[in-house]
Symmetry: C2
Subunit: 371 residues, 2 copies
């Protein structure tokens, strides 16, 4: 028996039952000691370090689920090592998918999780009951002044959150410092007009040594939240941003580069775990996810799996808000509210620019649709 | 035409020709402005920011390759944004795979690449002509003293490089500081006996705010190289380690958590690009990769593709050394040398422990096999 209950993972394994028994046995070695069991000289390593698998349970023809228990001791307190134990080496093997995870309370207590989460974001925005609204500053190529002008009109029209396009980094056409200063100022100006509390979330996905510095700079320039792509900077860099007391800002997670983990139904990591549970472990308050029926390839079931992960019980960790996106339109708002309910951030980009009456009116229409 | 030649990517697209033309057109938008082209008000954004795709070329039934050119301007000088442009959003779409990349010289000149690379590692080890030898400190669960004892015997037996198991983080059974101090001392002691130059590479895969500090600590304790898993800490954190002048140590890259990118032949990122070209952009001197015929699922063609990426011309960037691994044995050494040639680091773990004459003799046998 592992020394103390740490991480329990339900893996989906492809193959007949006997084969899955063998795969599960190998996995218990591969993800821990990665060493021939017959050569281990200290028996307590086999007892306390090697993971332990339950019997496989058939869930479909040639598909079995198996629960594997990893001891807290081999994970320590580092998210990087948790990811390694969860799917490090076995990401390189075929036919293995992480379906669900459960963390023991001692392990879970090492993670703060979302600083705001669902209740915190609603308090911050003074929007207790309705879906929240978000748009993005784009297209790439606009100047800082042009982006700030968009931000002003979004905020004036009643958006709750305005995020940078995730492709805005520190390019010459809209350098980070100038962009953040101008956009934060524009949103503050609009808030003064409307009495609203619209947040501006610049993209702080940045070189490894600059993520925190860029976030601190953003805060000092008036940013009221942060956009991060953990696929580009690492999940643990997002956790660091979420835990930094000097920042104290809500975090919106972008899924860039993470698609390869979820694109196969029999390999990789489930939507629930990657965009829900791991996102919360790493401190995301809201998680952008490609909605079904948009430009991307996910199904309603994938989206449901994702939402489950944002809200399933995880001891002290607050639930995060799902942010379905990816080619959404005003026409789809009623359907999205029906599917996701009120606990959602609706993110519409390009379609808000289609209204001939202009962006402000378009945002007002969006707002009326959810009130 | 994009403003200045930046990144040219050859994507493999699944589908009939007409469909691939449409996918390529969408991709040019998705990876850049991510905005409806008909709503873009400034024509120079369509001319200079949106990527440009060539005609698809059929390479197999229902598979087409298409070259896409991205301007240097949208990438700026950040590896995180390069990864985003390469495969950020489109990782979430089906049937798209990054096959090959070419970087323009101005863009490439922003990256230092491997500090040592193939020639530098050979100079450091004073081993000009033969395959290099590596083993790993494991199993997880051994104490720092026990790991140091292994390290001593590996070095005495003639290994060139000894790396931490990639699962060794900062767990209580072998805390980082004690482990590195003891293992570095053990290797130095053995080097004094043999007159050899064996390197010890501790694992500095660590929480986002601690990677550099842990590497500096490792260096101060006598480590002579670093092991990093960019799948866990981000590729850009590896680049930062490689570029840090206070460190100046060779870097061995571990593929943990990266398998989902390469596991499908029609989605994700090719072995060549992920483990070869991107690894070099991020400063890896040697790259661990699951060899064919071991515990993992890769083919000889996958391994060849990987090796091509470690050595293909990339202007100022040195070639890296491939490190085929994953359940290798002494019995397979001749076959591996035939396949990979002399420019390889052979990594054998568990199998070295099987020799009844003991670890030192086992390593000497390994060394004789390549001399």
């Amino acid at each position: 028996v592992p020394a103390s209950p740490g991480l329990t993972v339900t893996y989906l394994l492809t193959g007949p039952r006997d084969e899955c028994v063998a795969v599960a046995r190998d996995l218990c070695i591969e993800q821990t000691i990665e060493f021939p069991a017959d050569l281990v000289t200290r028996p307590e390593i086999l007892d306390h370090v090697v993971a332990r698998a339950d019997e496989p349970v058939a869930v479909a023809p040639d598909l079995h689920e198996v629960r594997v228990e990893f001891s807290a001791e081999i994970i320590g307190s580092e998210l990087t090592q948790l990811l390694n134990v969860l799917f490090g080496n076995i990401s390189l093997k075929r036919g293995i998918r992480v379906q669900r995870i459960e963390l023991g309370d001692p392990l879970l207590s090492r993670f703060r999780g979302p600083r705001f989460g669902r209740p915190g974001l609603r308090r911050l925005l003074q929007a207790p009951g309705r879906p929240l609204l978000c748009s993005a500053l784009k297209p790439l190529g606009l100047s800082a002044a042009e982006l700030a002008d968009l931000a002003y009109r979004f905020a004036l029209g009643g958006m709750d959150m305005i995020k940078d396009d995730h492709g805005l980094a520190d390019q010459p056409f809209a350098p980070f410092r100038e962009r953040v200063a101008r956009c934060a100022e524009a949103v503050a100006k609009a808030n003064a007009v409307t009495g609203g509390r619209c947040l501006y979330l610049p993209n702080v996905t940045a070189p490894a040594g600059e993520v925190i510095a860029r976030a601190l700079l953003a805060r000092s320039l008036g940013a009221s939240g942060l956009l991060v792509s953990p696929g580009l900077v690492g999940f643990d860099a997002m956790r660091l941003l979420a835990e930094d007391e000097r920042l104290g800002l809500p975090i919106l997670m972008h899924p860039a580069l993470l698609g390869s983990f979820v694109i196969s139904p029999v390999q990789g990591i489930s939507h629930r775990v990657l965009f829900g549970q791991l996102a919360r472990l790493a401190g995301a308050d809201g998680v952008i996810f490609p909605n079904f029926g948009g430009r991307f390839s996910f199904t309603p079931a994938d989206c449901r799996d994702f939402v489950d992960g944002t809200v399933c019980p995880m001891a002290n960790l607050a639930p995060a808000l799902p942010v379905p996106a990816g080619g959404m339109s005003l026409a789809r708002v009623p359907e999205m509210v029906e599917f996701y309910g009120r606990d959602v951030i609706l993110l519409i980009g390009g379609d808000l620019h289609r209204d001939p009456r202009g962006l402000v009116e378009s945002c007002r229409t969006f707002r009326r649709l959810v009130e």
